[in-house]
Symmetry: C2
Subunit: 183 residues, 2 copies
């Protein structure tokens, strides 16, 4: 690994309810100085849940995404609340968004989303041993849940309404891991 | 697909050099109203390039990511400039960041990053028929390029310094597509 640049200064430049923009002044090891903007990461991180039922289907939710002003198929996900670890948050979000709890939860990978300008991280959790259980969440409307066969990911990823890079990565990783476990 | 919520109002709430934060007031089809914050998407989108050499290695770059204050291994990527299409931008970024041009370029998938609160999209491009060609870019330091075997993705994804969800998704999709083409 190369020598990290020196962080000369971090300055808050804009702030809203959810977002905090910062400028970070850097001096790289070759002497070059740069100022970048980034979103400060707040909170305890987030989880994304790949919940697999007994028939090897993954549970997908249909959710309105305000960033792109459209409904998307994706995996249940949400922020880790104070006092929770990633697995507890995953089980809670699964109950709130998909109406299932999980007997077995396992961390697959901690991912970054856009690391050049965001500190946000999301932990992918594999959930198995599902049982019906619904917790009330803060969603504005109930989410339709689809059970999608894990051996038909190609068809899923060819759909325009399944586009979230982190969800595509999570499903491939989970499929590979479960296939290896079967061998 | 459900009926999309009505967009009652969009209000700019904070602005910096790179980022524009907006509030979006929504009324869902069940009558529930919500206000969400999001980052407005500006510009023409971005590209991420999976460049595969004759030996079936993918070209990785090592880049400092200001959002997480560390170096990461990832795929070359960058913004589409005015006047460029996605394939032209991909070939230019590949030349700037990795020192290679490509004879054959192909769009694999348009991905979203965090669609609940960002409109940003990134187009994954498969690049083949590589030849040495370096264009000067705006990077603060030269990026080290690694040729990583496409049949050793598991080992790559188990590394803590390879964490970008979009890059993991891109490499799995490209590997699957190239395997199918060989059959």
């Amino acid at each position: 690994m190369p020598v990290k640049p020196d962080i000369l200064k971090v300055t808050a430049t804009a702030k809203s309810r959810l977002f905090q923009v910062e400028e970070i002044d850097l001096r790289f090891s070759n002497g070059v100085e740069r100022t970048y903007e980034r979103l400060a990461s707040r909170g305890l991180g987030a989880v994304m849940i790949a919940a697999i039922d007994e028939q090897q289907n993954v549970l997908l939710i249909q959710e309105y995404a305000a960033g792109i002003e459209d409904y998307l198929l994706t995996l249940p996900k949400g922020l880790i609340d104070p006092g929770e670890d990633a697995l507890q948050a995953a089980n809670r979000e699964l109950k709130e968004e998909a109406g299932f709890g999980a007997e077995r939860l396992e961390i697959i990978k901690e991912m970054t989303s856009a690391p050049n300008y965001m500190g946000h991280k999301i932990t992918v959790v594999l959930a198995q041993g599902l049982y019906p259980c619904r917790l009330p969440g803060d969603e504005p409307e109930e989410m339709e849940v689809t059970h999608w066969p894990l051996d038909q990911l190609d068809e899923l990823f060819s759909r325009d309404d399944f586009s979230e890079g982190r969800a595509i990565a999570a499903l491939y990783m989970v499929r590979d891991q479960l296939r290896k476990a079967q061998v």
